[in-house]
């Protein structure tokens, strides 16, 4: 589903991503972990073609990410999800629906369904200026889920959510996992990753330190936190 070939990304003399090569298979529920500044968000931004790699190539479903067609069945939720303040949640979702090809009644039904899923029914007509951070995140998740995407790219999806919101998101993501949707999760919430993901990679200083299934990475009597600290503190 996702293929990264020898990706290097430099900002001036600083190397944010240093020669990463890996592939994420269809239906894989993958988490990318790493401390702040490890290069995780840079990888996400390159997946969406928001920034170009200095060298290397990235493909989604066999299509280079520089071609917008690669994003046809991709849902994306940013860490600090923003909604233009003059738009209501409903209008925001309708725009997303329209851009991926939904029209008329289909768009309304799809938006309505997702408002139920993210528990925002009844608040959808308020302008986003009135939304809390958690509510914006819920609308953002609904936008990412529009059109039944094959791939979901989630950058810190539970940031700003209360415990109920976190549980709701977990349930939604578990359902998607069961439906065979590929999920690329970038998160600091290790406990959530441990509960939901099947494979993960730990990244630091722009390099992938380890990539494997959670079962293989976490040994007996260890938690994901122990593994995370072990890898990211190596050499300090």
């Amino acid at each position: 589903m996702i293929v990264l070939n020898s990706i290097i990304k430099k900002f001036g003399t600083f190397t944010a991503v240093d020669n990463i090569t890996y592939r994420i298979e269809k239906g894989e529920y993958f988490a990318l972990l790493g401390p702040n500044g490890a290069g995780k968000t840079t990888v996400v931004r390159m997946l969406l073609d928001f920034i170009k790699p200095t060298s290397g190539s990235i493909f989604i479903d066999g299509i280079p990410v520089s071609n917008p067609e690669a994003r046809k069945r991709v849902g994306y939720l940013a860490e600090h999800h923003m909604i233009p303040s003059h738009l209501s949640g409903l209008e925001f979702l309708r725009r997303h629906a329209s851009l991926i090809g939904f029209a008329g009644k289909d768009a309304l039904m799809e938006v309505d369904r997702l408002l139920e899923v993210v528990s925002m029914k009844g608040r959808e007509k308020e302008t986003s200026a009135a939304y809390s951070k958690g509510m914006k995140q819920r609308i953002g998740l609904a936008a990412a889920l529009l059109g039944q995407p094959k791939l979901l790219i989630l950058d810190e999806p539970v940031t700003g959510l209360d415990p109920i919101g976190i549980r709701d998101v977990r349930n939604i993501l578990e359902n998607l996992r069961d439906d065979g949707v590929t999920v690329f999760l970038n998160s600091h919430f290790l406990s959530e990753v441990e509960k939901t993901c099947r494979t993960l990679a730990i990244m630091n200083h722009g390099k992938i330190l380890v990539k494997d299934s959670i079962r293989s990475i976490i040994k007996d009597d260890e938690t994901l936190e122990d593994v995370f600290i072990k890898y990211t503190q190596k050499g300090k």
């Binding site: 303040s85 997303h96 851009l99 991926i100």
Partner: protein
């Protein structure tokens, strides 16, 4: 192509939601209503009364240019914030996280802004046109055609401000564009005055020297307005150099739009 039209539509709707748009529109309509009285006054020059039609003709030509100049300021104010606002409020991510080409986004935003301003200007010109018609019974030929001719200047300003705002702060890019227009006005306006029939008769040597090459190829925003004025007045148009101002401005629009697409394609979001 479909997404380009969608983004154009969103741009028009988004701009129309801003309160500042309605404040500007209200001011402009107020201005048009205020000058309505000029058409029915009694005017005397050197003891000779002037007929209403002559007055209406001249006032309409002046107001035409005032509206165009006002629209220049409005289009600058609207255009300078297109990219920075989209970046700040998440609209950029909304569009580009979907299967939208960057060129569709850029061209949709530019087309939407231009179309909105074009319609805005046309409504104001049409209001003057109708006022003259109702008050004097005279139809000014070419008045609305001239409005459409001037809309090419609005597009030039939109793309110029957008291009500069990719590198410079919004206000600086707006001021820079005003500077470009100002230089053109001085250069082309000076040329028109020096080549006017009255000055040629008074000072025959004044128009003898040919203009410098940069003046011939400089964006001819003023000349487009002068051309529009010649359409209204049905008078001959004094051009500078062999290139028609509409072709000159069109060339710059294509050039700057191409540069925007190239630069924005490499831009990191």
């Amino acid at each position: 192509m479909n997404r380009f039209f969608k983004i154009t539509g969103y741009t028009i709707r988004d701009q129309m939601r801003h309160k500042s748009f309605y404040v500007l529109m209200a001011f402009c309509l107020l201005f048009v209503l205020m000058i309505r009285g000029c058409y029915s006054g009694q005017y005397v020059v050197n003891g000779e009364p002037l007929d209403n039609i002559t007055i209406a003709w001249h006032v309409s030509k002046i107001v035409f240019q005032v509206i165009v100049s006002g629209m220049f300021l409005i289009v600058i104010l609207i255009s300078m914030k297109i990219f920075s606002r989209d970046h700040e409020d998440g609209s950029l991510v909304l569009f580009l996280s979907r299967p939208v080409f960057r060129r569709q986004y850029i061209l949709g935003r530019i087309a939407g802004t231009w179309f909105l301003c074009l319609v805005f200007m046309f409504i104001l010109h049409a209001a003057i046109f109708l006022t003259v018609w109702v008050k004097t019974g005279v139809v000014i030929p070419g008045y609305l055609t001239a409005s459409l001719v001037c809309s090419i200047n609005l597009l030039f300003i939109t793309v110029s401000v957008c291009f500069l705002s990719l590198f410079l702060p919004d206000f600086i890019s707006a001021m820079f564009t005003v500077g470009i227009l100002f230089v053109g006005y001085i250069s082309d306006g000076g040329y028109q005055i020096l080549n006017s029939e009255i000055l040629k008769k008074a000072v025959p040597s004044a128009a003898a020297s040919s203009p410098a090459l940069w003046r011939i190829f400089y964006p001819k925003v003023y000349m487009v307005q002068a051309y529009a004025d010649s359409i209204i007045g049905q008078i001959s148009f004094i051009n500078m150099g062999p290139i028609h101002p509409i072709l000159n401005v069109s060339f710059f629009i294509i050039l700057i739009t191409t540069l925007i697409l190239v630069v924005f394609n490499k831009k990191e979001i």
